[in-house]
Symmetry: C2
Subunit: 125 residues, 2 copies
């Protein structure tokens, strides 16, 4: 059931925020929307949260099914979407794959959604 | 075609980030996912970008159809979703409604998606 795609990972996130004061290009909007779609699901947000809260900052499917109350194939499906979006790293060790957050990817999404007034205020401090 | 719902606006965004190191509650994940779903569309990201880039920081449907190449009902539909999610203000003046960003709502989403290491670095500066 489990595999890693690279569809979204291979396209970099846009360099310009949609809130920067200039209309963004269609391709940039599509790329950012793709990553936001991966985030925009309650089960996937809870998965990110559970992985982040894990003692070593990583977790396998075996750790995640019980807290979410979802089946292994369903959890694997959500993990695959997050990995394909570049938000999770996947490290295969023995029979299990271990997932950890890609903080830089999530930070870039956060940065792109930060309104410029807030950025300016921070710089002024 | 145009109306303003309040479904999402009335529920506050979660106070705790999914990346804060503790598993988030299901209700918080659902609320954040709802707002991210509103953002996770190329046309809606471009609408936010166009409104932000407008001279007065506001725009009506009449300003937005041509740059997006979409019909007025389609643009109105997307504006309604963004307004319902609390990301846009809607101000009816005469025959047109004028839309502007709600920077605090977008900043809150960005803050919730900021990995804690980044927040710690900012505080340490």
């Amino acid at each position: 059931m489990e595999f890693v795609g690279t569809a979204l990972v291979e396209t970099p996130l846009p360099a310009i925020s949609p809130l920067a004061g200039e209309p963004i290009e269609r391709a940039d909007a599509e790329r950012l929307a793709g990553v936001l779609k991966a985030l925009a699901d309650p089960a996937r947000l809870r998965l990110l949260s559970l992985i982040q809260a894990s003692p070593e900052g990583e977790a396998c499917v075996c750790d995640l099914t019980a807290p979410l109350g979802l089946s292994q194939p369903t959890v694997s499906h959500h993990l695959r979407i997050l990995t394909e979006a570049g938000l999770l790293n996947r490290d295969k060790r023995g029979v299990w794959a271990y997932y950890s957050l890609v903080p830089s990817a999530i930070a870039t999404v956060a940065e792109l959604l930060t309104p410029p007034r807030k950025r300016a205020t921070k710089k002024a401090r």
